[in-house]
Structures are given as C-alpha cells and as structure tokens.
Symmetry: C2
Subunit: 330 residues, 2 copies
C-alpha cells in the first residue's frame, strides 16, 4: 500500500483576475509560492465562462504544486473593479464587462472552497504592505500604473479603505484642469488620461498616424491593440524617440501626481507598481522622482522615498492570497 | 473685607495668531467662550514685539472674562506656519516673517502660564472635529480658503498628522499642470494659485488695470492691498460682474480640488472654512459642490457631503484651546 503524504488544510490560492490573463498561485502559511499557473481570461466568453477558466487555472496550479484540493483553506481573487467583499459580488468590472456578478458564490460552487474577493488595487496595496517595499513602513501611498492608474493608501500600518470603501482613486485626480485630454471617466485631465500606459499608447499611435516614425509599428505588426507595456519597453530600449518622449511625459505627470499625494498625505514613501513600472521601472523611476521632488512643498516631505514595489507581477496574486488568509482567520 | 470669588485652575485661553490680527478667547472646561479680545498683529514690530502684543491680548481677554490669571491652566496659540510643538518653536511663519522663533518659551516667560503651539490649520481641523461640522463624523477633509489654502485630514476620528507631521498641504496640489499661474511656492497651477482669496484679488486687480469696471476700486479706496474677503463679499452682493466671475472661477477650482480629495480619500465629508468661506460661504458652497460632484468618480463617493465648518472665525481660537487642553491632560 502506498502511503499518501497528508497536508494540513493551511494553504491558500491567490488569483489575479485581469482583463487579459488569469494568474493563480498556491501559497504556504509563510506566504511562499509553491506553484503558479497562467491562463488567458477570454472575457468575451462571459462571466460564467470566465468562472470555469478561473477554476481550471486554480486546479492546474494545485496539480503543479502537487497538493490535494483538501489542503486549500481558501481562494482569494483580485478583481479589476468595484467589489462587495461581504456579499462576494463584483459590482462593476469595466475591463471584463461585468455588472453585479456573484463571483464568490459561483466559484465556491465549482471549487468547493471558500472564495474571497478583493479589489485588485487594494489587494496589491496589501501585498506591498506585507511583502513588498512597504513592509517596514507604516504610512505610504501605492501608485499602480498600467492600463489605468489605481492607488492604495496605507495609514498607521493598515490599508485605508475609508467609510465608502473606495479610497485610492488616484487615477482620477485632475492634474490638467484646462484643456487636458479626455479620460474614460468622462472628465478631462485626469492623471490616468495623461500618464497611464493607455495614454502613452494613444500619444504614440496619434504621432505614428500623422507620419511619425517608430519601431512600434513593426513590434505590434501594425495592430495598435497589441501595444502593451512590453512592446513600449522594447521600443524604449531600442532608443525609439517617439516612445521615449511619450514615456518621459508620462513620468512627468506621474511625478506630479506623486507630489500631490505627498503634499496631501505627507507619507514615508510613494511606492510604484503595475505593468508599466514592471516593464520600465528602472528607466522611469529616476524621472518620476525628479518631477515629484520639483513639486513637493513641505520641508519634511523631502524625506519621502519614491520606490519600486519590489513585487513585479506578483503583487496581484499575493494580495489575493492575503485576502484569502483573512477569511481563514475568522 | 471683600470675599473674592475663587476659580479652579481649569480654564484655557485659545489664541489665533494671524498675519494681520490676534484673537484671544477664554474657554471653560465645556469649551464655552467666556470672553474674547482682538488686536492687530503689527508683524512689522518683530517677533519680540508680537509676543508682547499676544500677552496683552491674552491679559485683556482675562480682564473681560473677569477671571484671575491663576484660573488659567494653559494658553494655546494657533500659528500660521510650520511649528515644532514639542520644542515650542515656530520653524517658519512666512506671513509673520519668522524663522526658528521660540514663541512658547518667550510667551510662557511673559505670562507665567504653560504655552502650547499648534499649526493654525491643524488646530482649525481639530476644532471642526470637536466642535464643528465634523463633530459626528470620523473621516473627513477640511479645506480652509483664505489668503492661502490649507487643509486637514481626519481619519478614524483623529487629526492625521502623518509621519512628517505635515499632512494636509492641499493648497499645493497641482491642478493646472500646463500653463497654470505661478504660485508663491514657485510651482505653477497649484490650487492656491487659482482658488485662494489672493488668486481672486490678483485676477480682479489685473482686470481693473486693463480697464475692467468694478465697485472694488471704490471699496478699497484705490489701494489693492486693502482688498480682503469682506470687500469681495460686498462687491459680490452688489452684483459686481468682475468679482462674481473671479469668485465663480475659484469655486470651480475649489470643487475640482475637493473632488480630487474625495477620489483619493473617499471621506464622509469635505468641510470648508477660512476667511473667504466665512464671507461668501452661502454663495460659494452650491457652486463648489456642483463642480465637485462633476469630478467625483467612485459611486460610493456620491454620498459625500460638502459642508460649511459651522465655526466661522472661531475655528482658530477653538483649535488653539483644544491644543492647550491637551497640555493639561498630560
């Protein structure tokens, strides 16, 4: 008879549900990653179809980790949208096209494991707080720069959610009040409209369309929809002027936004993450810091640090795992 | 023999030290005002001279209240600048022209009563929190609109000072990043540069100089330095187009700044105070609220209230008295 190794029920799975990909990872109680898996989201299959894809991704990560289903006490999901964690509902997730979808219930039904939802940016902030550059800091602001710009506040060592649960919408801080470009939210001159990856791509595409030369045209095979942070990073490294200028302009605005947050909150650090920072962090951070310092007013704010999250693409799965761990504590 | 009424040593004096006037008030333990006095600051006499004027103002308020010196346990001073409360030092007070002045020590020496310093805006925020529109709220932002624009954050029921002690420099949040007017801090497009009383006066004066007609010219006897909030309020009430347009523009930017704070902090309320709001609050608040709601993104932020502090000119003395009370508790 073969003796099977037994596992105590103390592992969690963290899932980063993005508009394009699903990441799943198995964590031990020390928050070490035992295995990870990846799958495309295929949001066009609809919420029920995506639930199946998440379930498959979770099962596959368990298989890679070689741990039985019974060892998992909870699954956390970082969702790109507004979440009602108590009810396990996704209220709005624009990138997925979801409205009021009971994700936790549906997935719990499929996996027979408790499922906890967390907003992806709030989860990422908890990850930075517990495992990233915020680990030894009590008061800091996270800025996640990618398709959009999200933020999280840590105050007195805790993620600050505010009475409405929605603190950290830093991407919609207006910084170009007069004549700024239109934002997805309907306003003009939001930070997200001038400094996200989307804003950079918009500028690069517009300049290519009016005759500007850029290696991006080849890198994306002429399909502007394929221009993501990785392509921008490659063009930047190849010295592409058009991409460099657009990225530098974004750095200016991100720094200015960071300075606004520093002036308002006087934190120990502003910590940067997200796809664009993951791809271009070392090129962007010095410029962001320069712009931030030029706009910081208070003398004591001079001590503030501008840092990379240190978590790369793992911020999402770690944040989701932390959220899942909280369920276990109840 | 005349029997003198005896007083327990449980009263405090709150002093609002401004660039133009000193306000002093005597408070009982229930934070009721027993008497108040007012004196011009005459900052040009220098810090030692101003200390004498503060001491006189305090003594006069005691005389009006008919309470003996021995009944006062502490004096609090709200200072328009950067304060080191632990050392009783005024680090920088631009409106007074002070640098590293040991105000607490000097005044304690003159009055023989313990003196506590507090930044005027932080004191005002404590006043709103304990005695004003923030009384029953745990998470809100104060915006004080006057010569400059200052702010205070209340988080979980407490004034949030941040690690550097300087949270709330909302006046230097950049809102007009491209081509905004120059601010006193050296940057361009700060909220203070487009929405303070100073910014309104600058616009009105510039338009009068280029031929614009305004009743302000008569109200200030041709001396632009005399244009304060009261004159603006009178011109506004008289229907002066030039002043109305300038005030409305400021309301737009104050609302936009409020929306940025709401998007970042998701508070229960944004509470407005300061000289300009005291003079023109009922005219300004609806416009500020309209602009704020137009720029608020998160659905739960729709519940946020935009309110007058309810304290008028007393925010400063109340805040200083609260700071003095804290000394008493030690």
């Amino acid at each position: 008879m073969v003796r099977r190794k037994t596992f105590p029920r103390n592992l969690v799975v963290g899932v980063d549900l993005g508009g394009t990909k699903i990441l799943s990872a198995v964590f031990d109680p020390q928050m070490r990653i035992l295995a990870r898996e990846k799958k495309s989201t295929k949001a066009q299959v609809g919420p029920e179809g995506v639930v199946s894809r998440i379930a498959e991704c979770v099962q596959e990560s368990l298989a890679v980790a070689a741990v039985p289903h019974s060892a998992i006490k909870a699954v956390g999901i970082g969702v790109p949208g507004l979440v009602d964690a108590a009810k396990g509902m996704v209220r709005i997730a624009p990138n997925l096209g979801w409205h009021n979808f009971p994700l936790a219930k549906k997935l719990t039904h499929k996996l027979a494991i408790p499922v906890t939802l967390v907003n992806d940016v709030q989860g990422g902030t908890m990850a930075v707080n517990m495992a990233g550059a915020g680990r030894k800091r009590n008061d800091f602001v996270c800025m996640f720069i990618g398709t959009g710009i999200g933020g999280g506040l840590v105050i007195n060592g805790q993620l600050y959610r505010a009475p409405g649960g929605m603190a950290g919408e830093i991407g919609h801080m207006v910084v170009v009040a007069s004549g700024g470009p239109k934002c997805g939210c309907g306003n003009r001159g939001c930070l997200e409209a001038v400094a996200s990856r989307t804003a950079i791509v918009r500028r690069v595409v517009a300049e290519m369309e009016s005759g500007g030369k850029s290696v991006v045209r080849d890198l994306c095979d002429g399909d502007a929809k394929r221009i993501r942070s990785r392509i921008l990073a490659q063009a930047y490294r190849e010295g592409d002027d058009l991409v460099r200028e657009a990225v530098h302009e974004a750095c200016h605005y991100i720094g200015l936004g960071a300075a606004n947050l520093i002036n308002i909150l006087n934190p120990e650090a502003v910590i940067l993450g997200g796809g664009l920072i993951e791809a271009l962090g070392p090129r962007m951070l010095p410029r962001i810091e320069k712009a931030a310092r030029a706009h910081v007013i208070s003398p004591t704010a001079d001590r503030v640090r501008i840092l990379d999250s240190g978590l790369g693409d793992d911020a999402g799965i770690i944040g989701a795992a932390i959220a899942a761990g909280c369920v276990g504590k109840k």
